[in-house]
């Protein structure tokens, strides 16, 4: 096995990175027909596995769960999830030989082992479905040539996939067909039908490739989604405490602030988030975020470069081989940070206060989203893919922080994302050390508008607005959000 992407000639690298097609709803008129009457077997029954299975069954498809013998005999959670919802459960040996479509919804780390153990049982001409391309692209696992390999990746946590389906909607979804494994040319039709089965076709579907999905997904999660949210949260909290702001207040402002601030992002992009600030505050947040972008750009580029070259996955897989030594140590260290250990204070913080008192966090988020987006696009990833992997997912991750801080975020995201998040965080904090010495409580902890008369120079304001609004993440975002009508507010506060 070797890194699949690195075996490709440049022409083909660019070709696969560039697959990106926002699909018209007319592409889904055939519904689930391509999978109707076929046997679908899901391997793994965690949150994604169970909820996708519930949706697919409610769409009239035939679903069963294949679990490892130990999971069945030990009546583990995955076994309970499946049996208590009246699904057929069996071992690989029992179920895979019958399956027309095998759906691998296990964690990345287990993919090689899982696929190697199910493949011998898979029947001639069947299909293997992934929801993440790491195994194919980074590990380069070769799949038998008669098997079709596709990807369907709902861009939301499992519980949302279910919640949106039962209310008659769905979550935005990414689909792909692996060009090395599409012997009968049926991959796309099946991926579309699967997408209809989970309800994703109602919320906007992006046709991508395994390569584009992996390279953009890794970049997004390491930088803006998890890495920067972690760095920004810790630095903001520590600064407030250093400057004498009540620790309980600081903890609450950060924990829930990321969610409230990014909620605006979800509905109207960076523009809407910045517009929640007064004019003076917006201009300041703009200046601060520009400075942050300059400081952090090399780090974002390094992450993208390491992802493209396969260096990132190489060192992460070394850690897998070492029994997750680094991952576990870093996870423990995150649990020991002052932010993590200070419970949110019992104080009321109004919705607007989360913006006015946390200008620095707004600046972090603008800088992070734009940098991640720009860096991905420069590396050959299409803007639509870059949007999903940066701006679109930020509020979803912020919601996990609001629930139980960074520990919860790192528990919910994949181990792959978590590993990349720590790498970023450890490099980013020293990079920002000088910058942070200049930060005072007007930027974080207190109302920036206090003591200011609110007047601004017209031309400055106009040019700031212009820069924010004409950024490509905003134009592409406006387009894509049209397809995601009626997004539900996810709110913890």
């Amino acid at each position: 096995m070797s890194n699949y992407f690195n075996t490709l000639p440049l022409r083909e690298k660019l070709n696969q990175l560039g697959v990106c097609d926002f699909m018209d709803s007319s592409e889904f008129l055939d519904g689930v027909n391509a999978l109707k009457g076929k046997k679908l077997v899901i391997v793994g029954c965690g949150a994604q596995g169970l909820n996708q299975g519930l949706n697919l069954r409610d769409s009239g498809l035939n679903i069963a769960y294949a679990l490892r013998k130990e999971a069945i005999e030990g009546k583990r959670d995955s076994w309970k999830n499946a049996t208590e919802n009246n699904f057929t459960v069996g071992t690989y040996e029992e179920l895979i030989p019958e399956a027309d479509l095998v759906i691998n919804l296990t964690p990345d780390k287990q993919h090689t082992a899982v696929v190697n153990s199910v493949m011998p049982f898979m029947k001639q001409g069947s299909t293997l479905l992934y929801s993440h391309g790491f195994n194919i692209v980074e590990e380069g696992l070769p799949v038998r040539k008669d098997i079709t390999v596709i990807m369907v990746a709902p861009k939301s946590p499992g519980s949302e996939v279910r919640a949106e389906y039962v209310r008659g909607f769905g979550v935005p979804t990414l689909i792909a067909v692996h060009p090395e494994n599409d012997p009968e040319g049926k991959g796309l039709v099946q991926a579309k039908a699967y997408c209809v089965g989970t309800g994703g076709h109602r919320a906007g579907v992006l046709k991508s490739s395994f390569v584009a999905e992996v390279k953009s997904d890794l970049m997004g999660e390491q930088t803006i989604l998890c890495g920067l949210l972690q760095t920004g949260s810790i630095l903001s909290f520590d600064k407030m405490v250093e400057k004498g702001i009540d620790a309980g207040y600081a903890s609450k402002l950060v924990q829930y602030g990321v969610e409230v601030i990014t909620e605006a992002l979800k509905h109207g992009g960076i523009t809407a988030m910045m517009d929640r600030l007064s004019n003076v505050a917006k201009i300041k947040a703009f200046e601060v975020s520009e400075e942050l972008k300059t400081i952090m750009r090399p780090l974002f580029q390094k992450h993208q470069d390491d992802i493209m070259s396969g260096e990132f996955s190489r060192i992460m897989m070394e850690d897998w081989a070492a029994g997750d030594k680094n991952l576990l140590a870093w996870r423990a260290a995150t649990g020991e940070t002052a932010f993590e250990k200070t419970p949110a204070g019992n104080v009321q913080i109004g919705e607007q206060e989360y913006f006015d008192h946390a200008l620095l966090m707004v600046a972090f988020i603008r800088a992070g989203v734009e940098l991640a987006f720009e860096t991905m696009v420069e590396a050959g990833i299409k803007p639509e893919s870059a949007y999903y992997e940066s701006l679109h997912e930020t509020p979803l991750i912020a919601n996990t922080i609001a629930r139980k801080k960074l520990f919860e975020m790192n528990r919910v995201i994949s181990d792959t994302a978590e590993y990349g998040c720590y790498l970023f965080d450890h490099a980013c904090k020293p990079l920002l050390a000088d910058f942070m010495t200049k930060v005072d409580t007007d930027l974080i902890g207190k109302n920036f508008n206090e003591g200011k008369d609110g007047s601004v120079d017209n031309r400055t304001l106009i040019s700031v607005n212009e820069v924010i609004r004409s950024h490509e993440v905003e134009t592409i975002g406006a387009e894509l959000r049209k397809a995601m009508t009626a997004m539900k507010s996810i709110k913890t506060v």
């Binding site: 409610d58 009508t485 507010s489």
Partner: protein, 487 residues
């Protein structure tokens, strides 16, 4: 004579930017218990919340608690809508999540919830046991919050309030979703606490009340008007005299002679069996009444029919002539029926406009996610006008009082003129007049051959067309009968 307990002067209050209370004055003396009634949207809930200090207002509300009373010196408000949170403090629950076995462990048990509540308010746990028994709640102590039906949530809210026993207790629509026996027991319990010194303000249009209620009032044009016990202004119901929109007068196409056929249907959660060996057939055009006390299994039974219960796949039953789990999607099932239930209302998208909500009935979604086209919009507008909701058409659901929201959802339920209507306590939150009008509309629709399943706890408030009855008790069919005379 001691000073009044509650003294309200010149109270002015806005609900979503619209003034509802204007210079309202009200004096509640010691030992008085009041009923506040009248149409939805007159400001009853806003007034109650103002007294409990939950909303901002202009004017003054002075509350003088009894200095000698041993009861907590609190004006405690029990909302018409229940709320609950999961163990992580979130309340992002979704429709029918309670039937998904995996989701049930994310909320606390009733026992834990009550222990928590008792600790917070320093209450004795043995006192609550009596209340639980009186409201038929004792068996649910081990259930988790998400598993409770809407009637059971209502009871839990009431149990807490009765246990807390504040000096002033304000109950907004306490009878919603309660079965007959529970309503009676609730009244006895309320009589007891008034004897112990709690004063009551009840917001309800119910006629059977605690005997200790002896003062009555309505809000008219922002002012509080005291009335006598039987003097009562009914809401001018806008459908009176209006013709039912023509598109609802067509006979729905029945897909099969047998609409529902259940053969030994069983549902259990772990050890607990919720439905036992249910055998039931509903033929096309039949009008059924489904009855049973709270927790008897009615909602679970209906959730099987509406395609909302995962355990449907493990049972032997037929919907619209097809065996359930033979390749149909739940959307094909839902397409043939119009549904309203307390849960559908509770989980409905609060940010949809009235018009979107009504149109969403064509698509069985909570909120609208596509362009419905001209005809559907026109039909929705016609129905909105029929229900007298035209002036609210572009408002969001969460800007309307609960009673108005309910009318919107009733319009949503019937808009596609479905072959099967499932009306699970459709008139909750409406007054008697509105209920009668809606039931007459149901009678009208059913003349066209619509099949009906109706759940109602108030036997005096049912449509005339009902001809058959199925009674559930502890998850089993107790009675199936044909009704010869109207109930």
């Amino acid at each position: 004579m001691s000073e009044p307990v509650v003294h309200i002067t010149s109270l002015t209050l806005k609900y979503q930017h619209t003034p509802v209370l204007q210079d309202l004055n009200w004096v509640i003396n010691r030992n008085e218990n009041w009923l506040l009634r009248g149409s939805s949207g007159t400001g009853k809930t806003s007034l109650a919340k103002a007294i409990a200090g939950l909303v901002k207002f202009q004017g003054s509300i002075d509350i003088h608690f009894g200095p000698e009373s041993k009861l907590p010196a609190v004006a405690h408000f029990v909302a018409g809508w229940y709320q609950f949170k999961d163990l992580e403090g979130q309340s992002n629950f979704y429709y029918q999540q309670r039937y998904n076995k995996q989701a049930t462990e994310t909320t606390a048990t009733v026992q834990a919830e009550l222990e928590n509540y008792g600790e917070k308010h320093q209450l004795q746990f043995n006192e609550v046991e009596e209340l639980l028994a009186a409201l038929g709640f004792s068996d649910l102590i081990g259930s988790t919050l998400i598993q409770l039906s809407s009637g059971e949530h209502k009871k839990l809210q009431l149990v807490k309030a009765l246990w807390f026993k504040p000096q002033l207790l304000i109950l907004d629509q306490p009878y919603n979703g309660l079965d007959k026996l529970s309503r009676k027991n609730l009244n006895s319990l309320l009589e007891e606490i008034t004897e112990d010194g709690t004063q009551l303000i009840i917001i309800s249009n119910e006629v059977e009340l605690p005997s200790t209620i002896h003062r009555f009032a309505e809000i008219r044009e922002g002012q509080l008007i005291e009335t006598s016990a039987d003097e009562y202004t009914a809401e001018v119901y806008e459908t009176a005299g209006k013709a039912v929109p023509a598109f609802l007068n067509e006979a729905p196409v029945s897909s099969s002679e047998s609409i529902i056929r259940m053969i030994d249907v069983n549902i259990s959660y772990g050890e607990k069996q919720v439905l036992k060996n249910i055998n039931w057939e509903v033929k096309a055009g039949e009008k059924w009444l489904l009855q049973g006390h709270n927790g008897s299994g009615k909602s679970t039974l209906l959730s099987l029919i509406t395609g909302d219960h995962p355990q449907a796949y493990a049972n032997n039953f037929y919907l619209f002539g097809h065996k359930r789990g033979s390749g149909e999607s739940i959307w094909e099932i839902k397409q043939r029926m119009g549904l309203i239930s307390p849960e559908l209302h509770w989980y409905f998208d609060p940010t949809a406009t009235v018009r979107q909500s009504v149109i969403s009935g064509f698509f069985d979604s909570s909120g609208l996610f596509c362009d419905p086209g001209y005809t559907k919009k026109a039909q929705a507008d016609e129905l909105i006008s029929y229900f007298g909701l035209t002036e609210y058409r572009d408002m969001l659901m969460n800007q309307l009082p609960v009673g108005k929201q309910r009318l919107v959802l009733l319009a949503r339920t019937i808009i596609k003129n479905p072959e099967l209507l499932i009306l699970d306590e459709p008139c909750q939150g409406l007054d008697q007049q509105q209920t009668q009008h809606f039931n007459r509309l149901v009678d009208e629709l059913c003349k066209n051959g619509t099949t009906l399943i109706y759940v109602g706890h108030f036997e005096s408030q049912l449509p005339d067309c009902i001809e058959k009855r199925i009674l559930l008790e502890n998850g089993e069919v107790k009675t199936v009968e044909t009704i010869l005379e109207s109930i």
